[in-house]
Symmetry: C2
Subunit: 115 residues, 2 copies
DNA sequence: CCAATATTCAACCCTTTGGGTGAATAAAAT
DNA sequence: ATTTTATTCACCCAAAGGGTTGAATATTGG
């Protein structure tokens, strides 16, 4: 049976957070504009402020954004660092892939040697 | 207002497909073992065959796996190509980020020149 | 103190998702 | 021809997602 490591949970959160187009758009805006208030972010969407607030919370849980609260205004800023976890996952997959192809290759070479 | 491009839909599918740990485990197995039958994949999980079959369908929709049907057996194989879309998205974000930092930097430099 | 502003909390609605079971289909084996 | 094997289809269910509205909270401005 396959068990899931705890680090996988972070990756799941990040991928799920990134899988929604509204949240990706939010991230893009933040990356372009730097720290931005929730209200100003929401102004760009045809969505209630509440909805945008929830999306931000989800990005925050995945640590893709950070919040700096100054009085009543919450400044949200992007944090791209966690995306490296995706990269790691992908690179790991690729290396496993390459490993298998190497084995296949040496098998074929052996057969050729046997000729 | 922000509108969403059609290519974004592919990216959403890929990220959502990848966001589930069972599906990532399936991908890993496929990358390790090469083309594998649905039943053999399912044997590694404490899940019904049906459930695994559904996960595979989702991966297939995201084009992260391919299916080759030979008689009654369906051989599933990994296809890592779509993950490059994630990479592209990320690199795009980073370049936007760098652009903004450059602008900030030149602003600060200007101010220094004014001294 | 009072009004306006910025944001979240709480409740509610659909729709989607991830799981299950049992039947259907199709191919292989006996 | 019948049974076994491989897989999906059709439902069902509980939980999670993404959206809404209205109230609550907290801070700022007059």
């Amino acid at each position: 049976m396959v068990e899931y490591k705890d680090t996988d949970e972070d990756l799941s959160l990040i991928l799920k957070a990134a899988s929604d187009p509204t949240r990706r758009a939010l991230l893009t805006m933040l990356v372009q504009q730097g720290p931005t208030r929730v209200t100003d972010l929401a102004a760009n969407f045809d969505l209630s402020l509440n909805s945008v607030s929830k999306h931000i919370r989800i990005l925050e849980t995945a640590k893709l954004v950070e919040r700096k609260t100054i009085g009543r205004t919450h400044l949200i800023s992007a944090n791209l660092a966690p995306i490296n976890l995706i990269d790691q996952w992908f690179n790991n997959l690729r290396s496993i892939w390459d490993l298998r192809l190497d084995k296949l290759d040496s098998l074929l070479t052996k057969e050729t040697d046997d000729d």
